[in-house]
Symmetry: C2
Subunit: 348 residues, 2 copies
């Protein structure tokens, strides 16, 4: 018997901003809840889906060459998420367990694993809020952790500027940098977020980029208008301003350039000549590359889990609720409407 | 008694291209050849002056913050050069010696040194052409050597693209990269230079940027249109094209961006987003920084001197003759009219 199973489908390749109902649709693809789990596999009900900036790069035609494979047209899109196990045919996994896994954007799914190994998660080990598995302890947290240390090379007393500072990665970078004894300033998209990074996360300063341009804010907030590290989640105007304000030997961690993702004509950067006189370095990265695994990954898991449990690490999550909202939630996330790590909640 | 002593004077800060006679003038500032050399100092006749792209950054107002100090208005400009000793009051230096030193752009000069130490040079130790002391064995050669290895991290079999490949730095980078077993391609500004880098220096390919754009040339010359290292002397369009053609983990050595030096409105770069997906790194540098001294400097001197003597290293020099030509020579060098290392010859 088929149960209703709403899915978010990649229907058409967008140019610029995608439109709900045209490029991304929500459709009932049905699900047979009576079926057995496959060998080494599970039948799950999806609880939370991670909404991440990089997913914009997968809304492209099959011919596109990208580090993340394009989504398949007319199939549900996919990403990281948490799911409750309804049936298990995998060792060590039982009905009722919650797993973190790569999942299709649908309410119910069959999930597979070559060797039947799945990663179980619980709320206790992240201080009570299971959604941290998708945020501070998940991909965004690992991204922040590995890249801040490996590329940013923070030193006590330095000044770091983080764009999209209340976002999933930005807020973790900020909390880590404060722990390392840096001065931390950030840009955000609302006054509420500005309050949050300063009052809750302990940033030394920040600004609402919709009200103040990066250039004047950096003059106002950084000593002599100078910064040592720019952690870039945004690109465009903020990247250009950061280059103007970087000190000699400044580092740019190129994590994301969300301001350009949905722009057909990209923002023109005209000040790269400063790389020479100021000996700047800009490095892009993909956290799943081997150099960020191993020790970085273990250190991130150990430390952030400990800090979440003892309450010394924060991290906010922003929820949209219901698969019907998936296209709007994605677009909202790309527009920066989320306040913290963006997730889509499907079931409690 | 005052002898005629032509000097090249920094007369006015230019916007965009300087004009001979307005921003840079040639004037007789006189010289007393009867004076004695100061303690630890010399009286010299200047033979060759080095003309270098970075000097454009010194033709700015005194308020400008730059890694190289601005030239002083109404004073002769200065730079590296070779000079014949007329009188010496320094230990170990005799009349008739030739030294390499930082010199004012004038025919005769008093030169000082705190401890009286000067570096003597001769033609024999560079294979017969003393001008190599300003080129392959001088600042441009050291620049090429240290940055190619320290930043470019060349690996045998990789593909490097060098812009301004027949220039002072570019030609040395090319010869070094060939020695390391890389595939080497380069852009130049004339068909004669193209012949030179391919036939004389052994480049695997190249193009005249005035006849072909970098994008189509890279498609034509690189396997799958992909390069691993971009050694940038030019910036602007060629930098943008290189970013499009860099492989994953590609490196950009930001040595110079001469295409922007004399442009008031800089070229807009719109493809920095590729830094993330392709994990690119771009690093600017100043060769006089401590990390490029010591071992790099010694290795450069030892190896390049050996190769120049045994004839296995080439390196072309381009001469303008006479102080009267200094402003035109500088502008010609910035326009890329030189074919190899640019020097101004004053006296034999």
């Amino acid at each position: 018997m088929s149960t209703k199973n709403l899915a978010c489908i990649f229907k058409k390749v967008p140019k610029g901003w995608p439109t709900p109902g045209e490029h991304l649709t929500v459709e009932d693809i049905g699900f047979d809840l009576d079926q057995d789990a496959p060998e080494n596999g599970l039948i799950v009900e999806v609880q939370y889906l991670s909404l991440d900036p990089y997913m914009r790069g997968r809304l492209v035609g099959p011919e596109a060459k990208n580090y993340a494979a394009p989504f398949t047209l007319n199939d549900p899109i996919n990403g990281g998420g948490l799911a409750k196990v309804l049936k298990s045919n995998a060792p060590d996994i039982s009905e009722g367990d919650v797993i973190i896994h790569h999942l299709p954007f649908q309410q119910y799914a069959v999930v597979n694993s070559k060797d039947g190994k799945f990663r179980k998660v619980d709320a206790e080990s992240v201080g009570g809020d299971i959604r941290h598995w998708l945020g501070a302890l998940g991909g965004p947290g690992w991204t922040a952790y590995a890249s801040l240390y490996a590329i940013g090379k923070p030193k006590k007393g330095e000044m770091i500027f983080i764009s999209s500072a209340a976002g999933a990665v930005g807020q973790v970078v900020g909390e880590l940098a404060k722990r390392e004894g840096l001065k931390v300033i950030g840009s955000v998209g609302s006054d509420e977020k500005l309050d949050y990074i300063i009052k809750d996360l302990g940033f030394d300063g920040g600004w609402n980029y919709k009200k103040e341009d990066a250039d004047s804010a950096l003059n106002r907030l950084a000593p002599d208008g100078k910064i040592d590290i720019y952690y870039d989640n945004v690109g465009a105007e903020q990247l250009e301003a950061a280059i103007n304000h970087l000190n000699n030997y400044g580092r740019i961690v190129a994590c994301g350039m969300i301001a350009d993702y949905n722009r057909e004509e990209k923002y023109p950067i005209r000040n790269l000549m400063q790389f020479i006189g100021k000996r700047l370095t800009m490095t892009g990265f993909i956290v799943s590359d081997p150099q960020f695994g191993g020790p970085w990954k273990e250190e991130h898991q150990t430390n952030v889990s400990k800090w979440l449990k003892d309450g010394s690490f924060k991290g906010k999550t922003h929820e949209w609720v219901g698969m019907e909202k998936a296209p709007e939630a994605l677009i909202g996330m790309w527009r920066g409407e989320n306040f913290g790590k963006a997730v889509l909640k499907l079931a409690p």
